[in-house]
């Protein structure tokens, strides 16, 4: 369960202070499917980054599974990111030297999972995103839709309860975009809390709960 109370996030840009999040209060229950929409620059990414523990709010309280996480140190944050949160980026962020399978394996390597279990879980993950035959391909040998499927498999490999996606279809054609959304929704049906930022009204409307942000405030 995600609970944000009076979250503010300011950015200092030269003389100017940008108020990217302005008193955000929101609670997301386990297993929910939430879309986040709003104009460009309204603070959607900032909100998701705070939830993902990639960014720290300037003020406010953030409880993850009833545990406050705003005061944790760097290593503790890394551990929670590793174990509790999957993140899918607009620009895929795959490591170019490594094969699809190795990219998917990476979070388990960082977590120190045993080799045998890693190989088995990577095979399952590749199957779940229908990329068994692309295991040894490097990112430059894959299409955009395939790259995002690899990224999703990587995000889910540690079996996190939360999956956050920042415009996951932003770089894809509508057909592959739809496939990606269906893949994410499939994960949500298996119990994963899913939160997707999108610009596409049709995609956003598919979510059971829709959050709209304007100027850093939930509208």
């Amino acid at each position: 369960m995600i609970r944000l109370e009076h979250i503010h996030r300011y950015f200092q840009v030269g003389e100017q202070t940008v108020h990217a999040l302005n008193d955000i209060n929101v609670t997301i229950e386990k297993g929910e499917y939430v879309s986040v929409m709003g104009p460009s620059g309204s603070g959607k990414s900032t909100l998701l980054n705070v939830i993902a523990l990639l960014d720290q709010p300037s003020s406010g309280r953030y409880l993850l599974n009833d545990q406050p996480v705003t005061q944790l140190d760097d290593d503790e944050l890394a551990k929670i990111r590793r174990e509790n949160i999957g993140f899918v980026f607009q620009f895929f962020h795959l490591i170019p030297r490594l094969s699809a399978a190795e990219n998917i394996e990476m979070p388990m390597i960082l977590a120190g999972v045993a080799v045998k279990e890693r190989k088995q879980r990577v095979q399952e993950a590749l199957a779940s995103v229908s990329l068994q035959d692309r295991a040894d391909h490097r990112p430059d040998q894959l299409s955009g839709g395939q790259l995002q499927r690899v990224a999703i498999a990587r995000a889910m490999i540690m079996r996190p309860e939360i999956l956050l996606a920042d415009e996951p279809t932003g770089n894809l054609d509508s057909k592959s975009g739809k496939e990606i959304i269906e893949l994410l929704e499939g994960l949500n049906r298996q119990g994963v809390t899913l939160m997707i930022i999108t610009h596409d009204q049709n995609l956003g409307d598919r979510a059971r709960r829709k959050i709209r942000i304007v100027d850093g405030q939930i509208g």
């Binding site: 980054n49 993902a52 990639l54 960014d55 760097d74 290593d75 890394a78 551990k79 990111r81 590793r82 174990e83 993140f87 980026f89 962020h93 490591i95 030297r97 490594l98 990476m106 979070p107 390597i109 960082l110 977590a111 120190g112 990587r154 995000a155 540690m158």
Partner: protein, 398 residues
């Protein structure tokens, strides 16, 4: 993160830029190879020179006139120094544990044999010299044991014999040294250069005759051979006691072969060390290469660092990853450098037999360790920079 994974990831990254990695390692390879080659030559010279000296054997003591004292100017001045004489040699040869003793007078003189003449090195010695210096007579015999009033016999070095008599046997032939007449009784085996002077272009005559020839009162040195299984300190004590009894005071200096070897050894060690230090300068160049390439690697992979942090890598892990990469580069460079150096040393050894080379393993191991240290030293700063990046900012970097 497991260490095996850390190593394999670093290895993957290093070999994914083959050309770049090899060029980076090249600086180190050359540096390490230089250290290996230079120290091998240094060690080779070391061994060669020591072997030259130990040809004489190691259980030798020489007695020199005069006392070198460490207590400044003592009352004893040159005039009160009793000369070393042949009677001293006779008494020293009877000291406990002394196997043989020989006087030594050295000079240069003109030798005439029939039509031929030649200036050569003259050694005035005793009958025990072949035993003490481990040299052999190849033809005839050595000087007989006659302490007082020796006959005018001479023994020729190998080269001198051929120079003066060609292929004919010199045994029994009369020669003139300076103005004195001598009869040749023997020829020594070929010995080659020994510490600078040519043992084969030398003539041996009785010490008493040499004193007359060079118009000297006293011997230059006395050479003693002692039993190899006795402690040198004990022998020294006995020699001192005996000579002090004869001279009334300690007006002589003992030099043991061990002391000489030790001094020589330390000088030669410094030589090798200096040469190694010289080679290490090129290691410095190698380390700059690694520092440069790691700095570039970090700035190229900022977004990757962000990704790793986002999927749960701690700062420590990022630090280890980059440090390990630098280490992989330097270890590969060090290993190739060692192999290259050893190969070149072996080629040198085969191609130039005159050049003494010997692989100096301590330096080779040290050079490899230094290359690892260089990897660490050059890798720390970039790895720290990588570890300090904030995940979100790093992710944003293109």
């Amino acid at each position: 993160m497991r260490y095996a994974d850390l190593l394999s990831l670093s290895y993957r990254t290093v070999i994914s830029h083959k050309l770049r990695s090899s060029l980076t390692a090249l600086g180190l390879i050359i540096g390490i190879a230089a250290v290996v080659i230079l120290t091998s030559i240094g060690r080779g010279i070391h061994t060669f020179v020591l072997a030259e000296f130990t040809q004489f054997g190691t259980n030798l003591i020489s007695v020199h006139p005069g006392k070198t004292t460490t207590f400044g100017v003592s009352g004893a001045s040159i005039s009160t120094v009793r000369p070393l004489v042949i009677a001293d040699v006779v008494s020293l040869s009877k000291v406990e544990n002394i196997i043989a003793a020989s006087p030594m007078v050295q000079g240069n003189a003109r030798i005439e044999a029939g039509e031929k003449q030649r200036r050569t090195n003259v050694l005035g010695v005793g009958a025990a010299v072949p035993e003490i210096w481990k040299i052999k007579v190849v033809n005839g015999r050595f000087l007989p044991k006659e302490e007082s009033n020796p006959r005018a016999f001479a023994v020729l070095g190998n080269k001198l014999a051929t120079e003066l008599f060609g292929t004919a046997s010199p045994l029994g032939r009369r020669i003139r040294i300076g103005s004195d007449r001598f009869r040749v009784v023997g020829v020594m085996e070929k010995k080659g250069q020994m510490i600078g002077f040519d043992m084969d272009d030398t003539i041996y005559i009785p010490a008493a005759k040499a004193l007359e020839l060079f118009d000297r009162e006293s011997l230059m040195e006395i050479h003693l051979l002692y039993k190899s299984n006795t402690a040198v300190e004990r022998v020294e004590k006995a020699i001192k006691r005996s000579l002090i009894a004869r001279h009334g005071r300690e007006d002589f200096t003992l030099v043991t072969q061990n002391q000489m070897l030790k001094k020589l050894d330390s000088i030669l060690n410094i030589l090798t060390l200096a040469v190694a230090a010289l080679g290490s300068i090129s290691l410095l160049v190698g380390s700059v290469g690694i520092l440069t390439i790691m700095t570039i690697a970090v700035s190229e992979r900022i977004s990757e660092i962000g990704l790793l942090r986002a999927v749960g890598a701690e700062r420590r892990t990022i630090f280890q990853l980059f440090l390990c990469e630098a280490l992989a580069l330097s270890a590969a460079g060090g290993l190739c450098g060692v192999l290259l150096g050893i190969t070149i040393v072996q080629i040198l050894d085969a191609a130039l037999p005159a050049l003494p080379v010997e692989l100096a393993w301590t330096y080779i191991v040290a050079a490899f360790m230094v290359s690892l240290l260089i990897g660490i030293a050059a890798g720390v700063a970039p790895a720290m920079k990588a570890a300090r990046l904030e995940p979100l900012e790093a992710l944003r970097a293109e």
